[in-house]
């Protein structure tokens, strides 16, 4: 109901909006997304992976922090164009995308490669990738012609974990050592959803859920998972007088 009233007011206060239009700068809204991303990065537990992974944030976690999904998508794309952010396709869901800051990614990958023979190839790939290319996957022609890699170099990249096989002749961009991350993430998500589902009436206050003791299945911080399930719309968010209520949505595949 609040949204409806606000919309009616908006429709009729068009003159006010015209004056305010000059104020809303796109730079401000980009800073919004960046600050949300930095907040979500703090929720990521680095120690869990012995500091070998860069902090990973999922794109739909941003939807739980901002109302307008379309503008979030737009701003994320802008950050990707400038080369500040990298997006990855995680294997488990065609709609789940992981976001990593480019400097973090570069630092961690080179740190992981230090002392190995593949270091040179990986560095070359990263320099080609980070400022200019914002693709999620690469096929053979692109690798050979545009990036001028040889077959053996491509094999080295796959071995180092920067590329994952998609199908014959094409590869996804990926984060090295991310298998463990995906495993813990899926398990944790299932456990948190189970907690919501088992509650009375399949609903629980968000503050109560944050305070609950996590089982051994849940390796990440509770808030990280909560942003994930809200953003992916696996639970419904209802505003009540005692705070936000999360209600399990039936018909989930999980």
């Amino acid at each position: 109901m609040n949204r409806k009233r606000a919309l009616i007011a908006d429709t009729f206060c068009l003159t006010k909006r015209r004056r305010c239009a000059a104020d809303s700068v796109t730079g401000e809204s980009q800073a919004d997304i960046r600050s949300s991303l930095q907040y979500l990065v703090t929720l990521f537990s680095r120690k869990l992976f012995n500091d070998s992974l860069p902090p990973v944030v999922l794109k739909h976690q941003l939807y739980s922090l901002h109302n307008d999904k379309t503008s979030v998508d737009k701003q994320v794309n802008e950050l990707r164009e400038t080369g500040e952010l990298l997006m990855f396709q995680l294997g488990f869901d065609s709609e789940a995308f992981a976001l990593v800051f480019a400097e973090d990614y570069r630092a961690k990958v080179l740190q992981g490669e230090a002392g190995r023979g593949t270091l040179g190839t990986v560095e070359k790939f990263l320099t080609k990738l980070i400022p200019s290319c914002s693709d999620l996957s690469f096929n053979k022609e692109k690798m050979l012609k545009e990036f001028l890699f040889t077959d053996s170099e491509i094999t080295q990249l796959v071995k180092s974990g920067v590329l994952t096989v998609r199908d014959a002749g094409s590869w996804w961009l990926s984060i090295p050592n991310s298998g463990k991350f995906i495993k813990y993430f899926i398990k944790g998500r299932k456990a948190v959803l189970g907690m919501v589902k088992k509650s009375k009436y399949s609903e629980i206050l968000q503050t109560e859920l944050e305070g609950r003791r996590t089982t051994s299945q849940v390796k990440f911080q509770m808030k990280y998972h909560i942003h994930d399930i809200i953003g992916a719309e696996l639970v419904e968010c209802i505003q009540t007088t005692s705070g936000t209520l999360l209600r399990y949505v039936d018909g989930n595949v999980n």
Binding site: M1, K74, D167
Partner: protein
Amino acid sequence: MLLFCLILINMTYPSMTFARVCSNIYFLNDLCRHALLPLQMFFAIERQSGLDDPVRLRRAESTRRVLSLELNHNRDVDRIHGNGINTLDIEVIDGRYMLSGGSDGVIVIYDLENNSKKPQYTCKAICTVGRSSRHVHKFSVETVQWYPHDTGMFVSSSFDKTMKVWDTETLKPAEEFQFDGNVYCHHMSPVARKHSLVAVGTKDPKVQLCDLKSGSRIHILQGHRGEILSVRWSPRYDHILATASTDSRVHIWDVRRASGSLFTLDQHNGDKSKTSSEAVNTAHNGRVNGLCFTADGLHLLTTGTDDRMRLWNSATGENTLVNYGKVVNESRKGLKFTVSRGCSPEFVFVPCGSSVAVYGLHSGELITMLRGHYNNVDCCEFHPDYQELYSGGKDCNILAWVPVLRQPDIEDEETNSKRGGTQAAINPAFEDAWSSDED
């Protein structure tokens, strides 16, 4: 009304002369805001003074009405169907008659106009093609549509593999088309003058075009690889057709061309890197089961079983990437949804489970959920002249969502209480203000 404003001005700014006020209309606007007059008077004042186009007031008022849709205990629709309602159609000429088709094969025609002078009104069913009729469909009726140019004829298609063209007067089919598989949907072009083709989507991957003038099937459009769940003609051009199928693809066709489709809708806009290779060039990651053009025909909305709704530019096929979030869609057949007409931010009404979700068309935000049905909602139809929404579902009810009436002005309330409460029941438009007492 202007007098009221002037009195207000005199009260607050007694030093202002009449001439100065009239010459400074912008001052008037600011004053209205500060004086906390109802916001709607704003637009009325601007319209009256010629500052604004008349269309703006109309659009603003339509938007306000759509935003205040709710169930009204004064408006009801006759309950005739014994089984779920699959499809609704309101005729375009008068907006007076509504067709509904049900899972029991029954087709009903309702009169939506309120000629009684009371606010309490039930939309009566004028006639039905019931189970006792000789020509009734044997299985569920999936789509009904009025003939776009008058109400003398309507077309219905059903799971009994036939499509019937009915004469409204006699309620007998004037024409019957037989198909090989279940007919999921059909559509006639609302703007066509030169042709009277009906596009039919069946279990067969070939889209069939039937001609009403000759009574034969004259054209087949090949290109899909799965059942056709939805077909729609463009409201802008009479030769553009969109079809959606279980193979996750949406094709846009120009029926004048002999070769294949014009283009397919690609959810990633050609960016092949985003998906796995099987999903390249698809509109959705699941079956595409709903299609709807916006009123101007410039955009196309599609819904799919991947719980997503997408908005496309209908001329280029580009995905506008408006993110509506999760639009729950579990329908195995076509989903019938609709877009508002004549409002300033347009709205999409999508049946989601047992409620109807209202989204802003270009912003993608969920505005509200209209809850009222007891079971799944299958279809909804928007009445553009009165900004009303009719929805039908498995609970055999057709619900009418009516905009909330505006609160009476302060002056009217006072005069009403003086005259007595009975006057409030009659709409002032029907009040007899001209007969003299001497007769």
